[in-house]
Point group: C2
Chain length 579, copies 2
């Protein structure tokens, strides 16, 4: 971050404590004067050009401050690192360089060697804090997890929530322990050989905080509409300060918190017509700091451009979430056909998803009422992240219920032995029973009510239980989502086994055969064969010269046939004649 900067917003934004006080820099083109208010005092900032204000104030790390705009409104720093009293309280100066890192020897694995574990800090442990999560790391590492992915940490409204209502995108939520706690967690994870990926939201901010950003400058644009509110201004007048707010935030997680990657939430809602798309810019700047750092997009576009390199016109993300694989798998397992599941449900869909997970790669989607996606055959399998559970696919259900128990072994088999990058959702690995419900803690009564009402309306078509949908604002909805830690030993063994087998398989998955009526799928990966039986009864099918290596339920090879139990998966290796 040192060296001359070409434009004022390219210099480090936010509060940087130093020996002679803290240097403040804030992009506030909407203002005619900006002061930093600390204790009883205020220090006037000076114009640095193009809407940037800067100055040094006698404030030290750990002390609180706010910006006073035009001698009136006092607001937190858009680049705040810490909001100890919540969304509307003062910002606190954080000395990111004070931590004594012990992770020199750590080196994150590449994607093709990674298994990611998504967790929500608030419900992961009884403490609900970053420090509380440290105690679980050893277990995860032993199981074969290589990276934890933290749901968003940025300060948003209240004391609890999923994190997608965050406003101060560079802060670590006070309820989780603040930024110092994140440094401790990352360091501890690295000590256990675990990488840390952070979920970051650059497509919107929580409505509770939008006015506090708008007071500084044009953070939003009305050129585009997003599902969650005003679109962030990435390509309209004044966008450069917003782009730097985002890009410097991304850099900060990598540089100051030693994060090994970012998961960019819903990039399909990041509208940017610039010659350099902000997602590409974030990827470029993250990779410039650490070429091994991962930038993983959640993209609902089915567009391989997202994960293509710059030179091919891509955004250069290392990977992207591939929901289609989940939908193809889930509809086969459960028979659900509601909403976006309507487009899935055949064994053929899953077979296609095993080649590349874009089931929609150009054909018509009845749910979307349009042709959708493009083929991604040029992208290697590890660039797709697949899962049978994640926060959305569990939590966005009316009751946040996890996959039914009897379906989980086959689901895990299908995911963990696929050639793609795998993501597990916390608790999945030991058969957690607790739901992961949708919970919020909105501090604005109207937003709270709108959220409650929206949730009810979303499930209104299921009239029978619409009234029973948990109230997201009720603290009990949050408490009920805490992991129980009641372990089912069978699942622990299953996941441990599958994670071991996973690394013995190699090569892409090819469909050997399938039957839509009898509901089985037969795949080959190199010299291994996978047989997935989605039927409610056992199935026998011919296999030549094969040996049973592993199965999720009673399966056996007899002569030239394999018998696979109902809702089971079987892994076969070369038979005795070749073994």
């Amino acid at each position: 971050m040192s060296g001359p900067s070409r434009y004022p917003w390219q210099a480090p934004l936010g509060a940087l404590p130093g020996p002679g006080g803290t240097s403040f820099r804030v992009w506030a083109p909407a203002c005619d004067s900006v002061s930093v208010v600390h204790g009883e005092d205020a220090t006037q900032l000076a114009r640095a050009g193009l809407g940037v204000w800067e100055g040094t104030a006698p404030v030290g790390a750990g002390q609180d401050y706010m910006f006073e705009l035009d001698g009136g409104k006092r607001l937190p720093d858009p680049c705040s690192r810490h909001q100890p009293q919540g969304l509307r309280g003062p910002s606190r100066v954080f000395d990111a360089t004070a931590y004594d890192w012990r992770d020199d020897g750590f080196r994150a694995r590449s994607l093709d060697q990674s298994v990611i574990y998504e967790l929500h800090v608030g419900t992961f442990t009884a403490a609900g804090t970053l420090d509380g999560a440290i105690g679980e790391l050893e277990r995860l590492a032993r199981l074969g997890i290589t990276a934890i992915e933290l749901m968003p940490l940025a300060e948003g409204p209240g004391e609890r929530g999923w994190g997608y209502d965050g406003v101060y995108i560079s802060s670590t939520h006070h309820a989780y322990g603040g930024p110092a706690a994140l440094q401790r967690l990352v360091d501890a994870a690295h000590a256990h050989g675990l990488a840390v990926i952070l979920d970051v939201v650059y497509n919107h901010v929580g409505a509770s905080g939008a006015p506090a950003l708008e007071a500084f400058g044009p953070y939003f644009t009305d050129r585009y509409q997003t599902f969650w509110g005003a679109a962030i201004n990435y390509d309209d007048a004044g966008c450069d300060g917003v782009r730097e707010w985002v890009a410097q935030s991304a850099e900060g997680w990598i540089r100051d918190f030693h994060c090994d990657g970012l998961r960019l939430d819903a990039i399909h809602a990041i509208y940017d017509q610039s010659a350099r798309h902000i997602v590409a810019e974030v990827a470029e700047r993250v990779h410039a700091l650490n070429p091994r750092a991962l930038v993983i997009a959640e993209s609902g576009l089915n567009d391989p451009r997202v994960i293509r390199p710059f030179a091919l016109g891509g955004f250069d993300c290392d990977a992207q979430w591939a929901d289609d694989f989940h939908h193809a798998l889930r509809t086969l397992l459960t028979g659900e056909r509601d909403g976006y599941y309507a487009d899935f449900g055949t064994v053929g869909d899953l077979a296609k998803a095993y080649r590349r997970p874009f089931v929609h790669d150009g054909q018509y989607s009845p749910y979307r009422q349009r042709r959708f996606g493009a083929p991604a055959a040029d992208r290697p399998p590890e660039q797709f992240v697949i899962f049978s559970q994640n926060h959305d696919q569990v939590g966005n259900r009316a009751f946040g219920d996890r996959m039914p128990f009897e379906l989980r072994p086959l689901a895990a088999f299908c995911v963990l032995l696929a050639p793609f990058t795998v993501l597990l959702f916390m608790g999945e690995e030991y058969g957690e029973e607790a739901p992961f419900q949708f919970f919020t803690d909105h501090i604005d009564p109207e937003i709270a009510e709108a959220t409650r009402e929206g949730r009810r309306r979303e499930f209104a078509s299921f009239a029978a239980f619409a009234e029973q949908v948990p109230d997201p604002q009720d603290p009990a909805t949050f408490r009920d989502s805490m992991l129980t830690r009641r372990s089912h030993p069978d699942y622990e063994a299953l996941y441990a086994d599958l994670l071991r087998w996973r690394w013995r398989l190699s090569g892409e998955a090819e469909c050997v055969g399938l039957d839509e009526n009898e509901r089985w799928l037969h795949l080959r990966r190199g010299e291994h064969q996978l047989i997935c039986n989605f039927a409610r009864q056992p199935h026998t099918l011919p296999v030549a010269d094969a040996r049973l290596l592993f199965a999720t339920d009673s399966c056996e090879v007899v002569g030239e046939e394999v018998r696979v139990a109902a809702l089971a998966g079987a892994l076969l290796g070369p038979g005795d004649s070749r073994a």
Copy 2:
């Protein structure tokens, strides 16, 4: 267009006359029944799936029809080829195959051999028709023009207008003579060795016609906002029918009218998040029909992606308009700094534009209040279309006045000897005096008044003459824009000379030197040198071993110096020692 189609909208839309009547196909997902009404009769169409209706009716070429939706509203065909009674009259069946083409031997030149001539059919000749334009072709061909570019022909409101309010994008305006006249003009152009490029508008439709399209299906989306009205739906539910409406229209101009290229209006207002952008799809489908056909984008994005090939993530347009070159040149010539001219005005800007015309290739634009563009060094010069006049740069001025006479020779010198593809605006080549004003013929009183008022407001800051801004609805504003054909022999000779010299120059333009105070620019192209003097007084500068080949005003080489007249350009070749 024959052979099996995968989706119903991929079959040919519109009216196709054949021996057993005319086959009709219309995408109308908003309707529960569709009939084709002809004379006193009506023929019910049948569902072909995904919102498409089709059937054959006893109607012949030259007969009129309308679609009746849900037994009520009667509307023209969205794919109409001819609206003989205007925007809201019936559509007429056009037999595109009836014309007896004579252009077998014609082969359009490649871009690097092209000089384009933009014309507005209604004001180009006294007749104001396509047939009327035929008489001018020989003169243009003799001058060295290789392609004419027709401002949009699609049927829009009323009897006159620039064409950017078109609605029936596959039709040829009745006031210009309808589709048969276009075939005659293209054939005549080809006979004179001239290619024909057609300006097409895919970013919005004239507000007068939007409801008549919406009655059929979701032609528009509220996901995006455009400057001119509702954004066309290229990526929201139901977009495929809209995309086919556009893509088949583009194909039709190439296939049925033998057009040699399309100029896509304002693609920066075509919003499309699909994995295949509609502009790329149009380019692909046009090139599939005729690999030599040109797709030229008007793009305000300064994004080289537009003209990169598919394989590099591009839209595969052959070329794009490069307004920055114009602005850099015009501000030097006139000293104007209003509006978007504020970002230009130095000799350095023009020197940069001579390398690649994106003057903004990543730096901050005070006018746009953002960083803008990306470098395009990887794209060859012929992919950029430059001009010193065009319909916008003349017509969007308050009074539509052309460039002042004393500036035109240097402007023409700068444009015609540049390495980019050149576009002239009708009349420019002989020193036309008539303005090209903004004229409309809106048939809806509110739209007429809004247009009038908008025009007044646009120039309100020039309070002195805001009230004198011509009324776009007044027929006199149109009449005053007709070419006078009063030729200034000096200009004719100048253009003829420059067009001859143009083809003797080769290689990219490199800046040898410039002086911001004395306002001269010295360029080299291969063994030729260009000296442009933007000052109001003569300038002498040193040149080694050079010979004067051509100048727009009195210039001479004496010894090791060249003296260039005020506001003049001089072309130098190698001196005697090398010649």
